[in-house]
């Protein structure tokens, strides 16, 4: 019976605490004015999640937090210039700002700063103040939605995988597509055209025991097309016509020693392009070189240049696991020009060589102004999220200069995405835990400086304390997705699929990439076509 008693006791305690909090701290009227608190500690209060010195957008949901100081009652006063302030009391240190007051405060502080004063009542009943904490509020807004995948740290099996859309202006989160809609499958690699929620693709991987097959769902203006092949890393051009995607012969393996157990390797890869208007797939030697692995495509905003990572293939046998040379694989950052009228690629060049930096350069994401590119530098390989060495770097595309971003930690920083105005960068980081990936958002000012990032805010300040899922592939969107989870689920289940015939490459089952590549002298012809099954 002890568990039952424990539950009763636990809830009784919670209710009692809430009632006490209501009685003791119904509002700021019953607590001392901050100016009356004479006892002051010359230190900044410990807050979780940390928010001191961060820069937040003027349209973000409340940054709720927990005060990690010992005390019997807590008071947080958040003030904007001009005197407007929000005062929140708490009996347990959890500070949750009312949405209305928060929004109004942010609007007033836009382009300026918020000052957060914390006071804690100690065991003797004396209130103590702390040094004020400053939170900067940027002038530029952030795209109001963030789409990410929630998944437990993944090894061999997956379950309960879903892509969700979170409104950044509130705490609302809705499912975009969950694996339970198609037999507990896996969803991954969602991509949008310039943050446009009407133009997207999302790949699905079927559970082997389910009757459904892997697919890629392309959404254009509310209509879905289910292609019979899953895409890898995908980038849509700004017009929403061309989607460059990678085809990866991806393999996972595990380490017996070291902090990170998992590792991923591409035994081969290449890039193909899907023409959504014509429903055709094509590729070309510069992005499907038989002797190299190309991956992580990213269109420049003008759609005339395709950036990607590329590495020579150091092994002969493209099926053998695990190749001995896996630690020698380093990817260069390359780009190639694209003529959308003739659908031809030309002028392949290496923007940044792996040899020059001594790192593998992955996940290039060009800024919306096209002037710079943020990418991951890792010690080796193609999968930054499993590399504690992975850090974010920025490359100036005009000068070729590159520098490390000040947002990095000692753990993996990986998947990142620019907001449509280029002022915000969301990225994945395992800081603090080394296991759980969370989404962090950093402000990029006009001079290109990256400000201290903040973690994706949650309604419950304790949220991350017990949350066992990771946030992966965060992508901004300019608005909510019009297409519902039900419709996407139906598209994932449908047998009415469009069969995509890929160009013959080494990634094809017959492994005759060389022959086909050699046969393609001159402008690369579309080898793909789409037909209804």
């Amino acid at each position: 019976m002890r568990p039952v008693l424990h539950i009763l006791r636990q809830y009784a305690l919670s209710v009692s605490a809430a009632v006490l909090a209501c009685l003791l701290l119904p509002g700021c009227d019953d607590v001392p004015d901050l100016s009356e608190i004479t006892e002051r500690r010359e230190e900044v209060p410990q807050l979780e999640p940390a928010c001191a010195g961060v820069t937040i957008p003027p349209n973000i949901a409340p940054i709720n937090f927990r005060i990690l100081e010992d005390g019997t009652a807590f008071l947080a006063v958040l003030a904007a210039q001009g005197g407007e302030q929000v005062c929140v009391g708490s009996g347990d240190g959890r500070i949750c700002f009312p949405a209305g007051s928060w929004t109004s405060l942010l609007e007033r502080a836009r382009g300026g700063e918020l000052v957060l004063n914390i006071a804690v009542r100690n065991a003797e009943g004396h209130w103590q103040g702390y040094l004020p904490v400053t939170i900067n509020v940027a002038r530029e807004e952030i795209d109001p939605y963030l789409v990410y995948r929630l998944i437990t740290p993944q090894y061999n099996v997956w379950w309960d995988v879903g892509v969700y859309q979170r409104c950044l202006e509130s705490f609302d989160q809705v499912s975009v597509l969950h694996g339970d809609k198609f037999g507990q499958g896996c969803t991954n690699c969602h991509a949008f055209s310039g943050g446009n929620p009407e133009m997207m693709s999302i790949a699905t991987r079927a559970n082997q025991r389910s009757p459904y097959k892997s697919a890629c769902i392309v959404v254009r203006n509310g209509r879905t097309t289910t292609l019979d092949t899953p895409w890898g890393y995908t980038s849509w051009d700004s017009t929403g016509r061309y989607a460059a995607y990678s085809l990866n012969k991806v393999r996972q393996f595990f380490h017996r020693a070291g902090a990170e157990v998992r590792d991923v390797i591409d035994l081969d890869s290449e890039i193909a392009v899907y023409d959504a208007e014509k429903g055709e797939v094509f590729t070309a030697p510069p992005i499907a070189d038989p002797d190299r692995m190309e991956t992580y495509p990213c269109w420049a905003p003008d759609g005339k240049t395709l950036y990607f990572s590329s590495s020579p293939i150091p092994w002969e046998d493209r099926d053998r696991m695990v190749p001995k040379e896996y630690r020698d694989v380093r990817y260069d950052l390359c780009r190639v020009s694209f003529d959308s009228a003739t659908r031809t690629f030309s002028g392949l060049e290496t923007v940044l060589s792996a040899d020059a930096v001594g790192k593998s350069i992955l996940l290039p994401r060009v800024s919306p102004d096209g002037r710079s590119l943020v990418c991951c530098f890792t010690d080796y390989g193609c999968f930054p999220i499993y590399q504690p060495s992975s850090d974010l770097w920025i490359v100036d595309l005009e000068t070729g200069d590159f520098r490390e971003l000040p947002v990095n930690s000692d753990q993996s920083e990986s998947y990142h995405s620019w907001s449509s105005n280029g002022r915000w960068l969301v990225f994945s980081s395992k800081r603090g835990t080394g296991v759980f990936t969370r989404s962090y958002i950093s402000y990029v000012d006009e001079e290109g400086h990256f400000h201290a990032p903040f973690i994706l805010p949650q309604k419950n300040p304790d949220f991350y304390d017990t949350y066992l899922k990771t946030f992966t592939v965060p992508e901004f969107t300019r608005g909510p997705l019009r297409i519902g989870s039900r419709q996407l689920g139906k598209a994932a289940r449908t047998r009415d699929r469009v069969s995509v015939v890929l160009p013959v490459t080494t990634m094809s089952p017959d492994k005759t990439k060389k022959a086909s590549a050699d046969a393609s002298s001159g402008p690369w012809q579309s080898a793909g076509s789409v037909r209804q099954k």
């Binding site: 019976m1 568990p3 437990t152 740290p153 090894y155 997956w158 017996r256 835990t433 304390d465 066992l468």
Partner: protein, 653 residues
């Protein structure tokens, strides 16, 4: 009248009762006697015979449970979720044994009482004993050790809902149909398939005696329609989940007791069938060509087959005997032994494991059971002395670790199914990354079970990631069984964030592999080399490597590593190693190098000679089965016997 009727009409009261020499029961208490007896029997059966503790974390279907809104909230978003939440809570009580037996016995009695109450509404002429059929079947389900608590819990509101409907029934379609719809929707959402029982019984009430067949038929159609509407259309569930929430109808459901459980549900469907037949009889007339008038039909309800009336004492006795025989027949003794072994292993009661194993394991021994026996043998210092006295398969010791590239897929998934038991052994050995891998898989697939959270916390402490460990421990603090352990560990982390002063963690760290290996599976000698390179005094790794080599018939590995016995201060060579050395010498003609002071007992050589002589005639005729049977009485526990007779596919499955 109850099954255990104390006074039957028309019978004289015994003299002993009249004289007051025996305890007489007040007539007011009589209705409670049968349920009380039923409760007592169910409770004692579940507690003492079935041993309800054995269900706790006994399979991958066992539900995890954590306190808190974030854990509860998802259960209230789909049909059947609330009853699954209740199941998850009650299932935790199984850890303590009797409290769970108490609750489940109460549920079973409620089911019996509900069925009885429904029978009264359906047809007053029916006897009492059919009300105990679902009780018996439910006990049989538990006898099979399947995890079907939610499906059983769902029956109770379904049956009592039908009783409630019978009481609220107005006999007016415009009033009764909304009552039914509301009841069905509430039940469908709260307890899934229990709503079908409700619908079937309500329809039976309408069909019975030709009350309102149209309404009864409508109930069936409306139930199907609402299930599809709510489950499929509104909740966007798959067909199977929409139609059969909480029923074990999906391909990955627990198959133990599955058929019996479906029989319980089918039992309630029988009422509907009987009611429809009785209504049909009214329509088409009785056998003698006459049609009963509706009022009398309603009064009498559905006629009960006369041969099943069981009014005589012998007939009642026969029913009781049938019930007992059913329970006995349904009772899965080998499964109980296997679960008891697993239970003792979890409780680290190694003597209990071996005692249970010695008392009989049944014809088919699961690899999991052998794994626990080996575990117990190791902890008792007997692994290399007695392991072949128990059935061994090539996979049961290491469960796929260190079995070479062959051992992938299925073994890995078998380990995930044993998440509760595997981690600690391999953690003790220092295989931190492997345990982290498997525990995360278990977490992903089976949810936040306490033991998995604890193992992940330990792994992260060992890897000097205290913040990550805290995440798991904060969740573990909300587990009903492990919460104190979590609090203790959190307090330890607060005072010593890296737990540098914890001897267990330090020992674990000292055994962690330092040289990386990234491949598709090591052979046993590679694995052992790797483990012992990190810490040559890792006795567990040494013994597991040697014993795994024995099972794989890698005599060279055994002989090559015998010198390591010196690292552990061994003064004698364990008997199975001696047998391997003798075999090695016989097969290769080479002398095995032994360290000074270590020797092979002459008795082992003699045993080998006896074995060879006994084997020779069968060997000459290639009569493996004959040899196996003939040599078993004298040699079955020896390595010689294993080496000669355990089939290759069993050794390295």
């Amino acid at each position: 009248m109850s099954l255990w009727t104390l006074r039957e009409p028309g019978r004289s009261v015994p003299e002993s009762v009249l004289s007051g020499r025996r305890l007489s029961i007040s007539p007011r208490l009589i209705p409670f006697v049968a349920p009380a007896v039923c409760f007592a029997i169910s409770f004692l059966y579940l507690w003492l015979v079935v041993d309800i503790r054995l269900f706790y974390e006994s399979s991958e279907w066992f539900p995890p449970f954590l306190l808190g809104k974030d854990f509860a909230a998802p259960f209230f978003r789909y049909p059947g979720g609330p009853i699954l939440y209740l199941e998850a809570f009650i299932a935790q009580l199984q850890y303590f044994g009797w409290p769970a037996a108490l609750v489940i016995a109460a549920v079973i009695v409620m089911l019996g009482k509900g069925t009885r109450a429904f029978l009264n509404q359906l047809s007053p002429s029916w006897p009492t004993w059919p009300a105990y059929v679902p009780v018996l079947l439910t006990l049989c389900v538990f006898s099979r050790y399947g995890t079907h608590l939610a499906s059983i819990l769902a029956l109770v509101p379904g049956v009592w809902g039908a009783v409630g409907y019978a009481k609220l029934r107005h006999g007016c379609r415009r009033r009764d149909l909304p009552v039914f719809i509301i009841g069905f929707l509430v039940l469908y959402f709260s307890c899934g398939a229990g709503a079908y029982v409700f619908a079937g019984l309500c329809a039976a009430l309408e069909f019975a005696g030709g009350r309102d067949e149209l309404l009864g038929g409508t109930f069936i159609l409306v139930a199907g329609f609402l299930a599809v509407l709510v489950g499929r259309t509104l909740c966007d569930l798959s067909w199977l989940k929409a139609i059969g929430p909480v029923l074990p109808v999906e391909s990955d459901s627990d198959t133990r007791g599955q058929l019996l459980l479906l029989l319980v549900y089918a039992f309630f469907a029988l009422f509907l069938v009987a009611a429809v037949l009785s209504a049909g009889r009214m329509w088409w007339g009785t056998a003698d060509g006459t049609k009963p008038s509706p009022p009398s039909a309603v009064r009498n309800g559905i006629p009960f087959p006369k041969f099943l009336l069981a009014s005589s004492r012998p007939a009642k006795l026969l029913l009781v005997l049938i019930a007992l025989a059913s329970l006995n027949y349904a009772f899965d003794r080998p499964q109980r032994s296997a679960l008891l072994i697993a239970h003792f292993a979890r409780m680290k009661q190694w003597a209990g494991v071996l005692r249970t194993a010695d008392s009989g394991l049944g014809d088919e021994v699961f690899p999991e059971t052998t794994y626990h026996i080996d575990q117990a043998l190791y902890r008792q210092g007997l692994l290399a002395e007695r392991m072949f006295a128990y059935p061994q398969t090539g996979i049961s010791l290491m469960l796929g670790f260190a079995s070479g590239p062959k051992a992938s897929g299925t073994l890995r998934f078998m380990r995930y199914g044993m998440y509760y038991d595997v981690g600690d052994t391999f953690l003790d050995m220092g295989m931190v990354n492997e345990v982290e891998h498997d525990a995360h898989e278990a977490l992903t697939r089976y949810g936040p079970h306490g033991e998995v959270l604890r193992q992940l916390a330990v792994v992260n402490i060992a890897k000097r990631r205290p913040e990550t460990a805290r995440i798991f421990l904060r969740l573990l603090r909300r587990d009903l069984i492990h919460r104190r352990q979590a609090q203790t560990m959190l307090a330890q982390l607060d005072s010593d964030p890296l737990m540098e002063n914890d001897p267990c963690i330090n020992m674990l760290r000292s055994r962690m592999v330092t040289e990386d290996y990234a491949g598709r599976g090591q052979t046993v000698d590679e694995w052992g080399e790797n483990m012992l390179k990190a810490n040559p005094t890792n006795h567990m790794a040494f013994e597991y490597m040697m014993c795994q080599s024995l099972m794989e018939r890698r005599l060279d590995v055994v002989v090559k590593n015998l010198h390591r016995l010196n690292d552990f201060g061994c003064r004698t060579v364990p008997i199975h190693f001696q047998e391997a050395v003798v075999l090695y010498e016989a097969l290769t003609g080479e002398r095995a190098p032994l360290l000074p002071g270590l020797q092979i007992y002459p008795a082992v050589y003699q045993a080998y000679d006896s074995f060879s002589r006994a084997l020779a005639p069968y060997h000459a005729t290639q009569d493996v089965r004959g040899g196996s049977e003939a040599l078993a009485p004298n040699f079955k526990g020896s390595y010689f016997y294993y080496y000669a007779f355990v089939p290759e596919q069993q050794r390295s499955r």
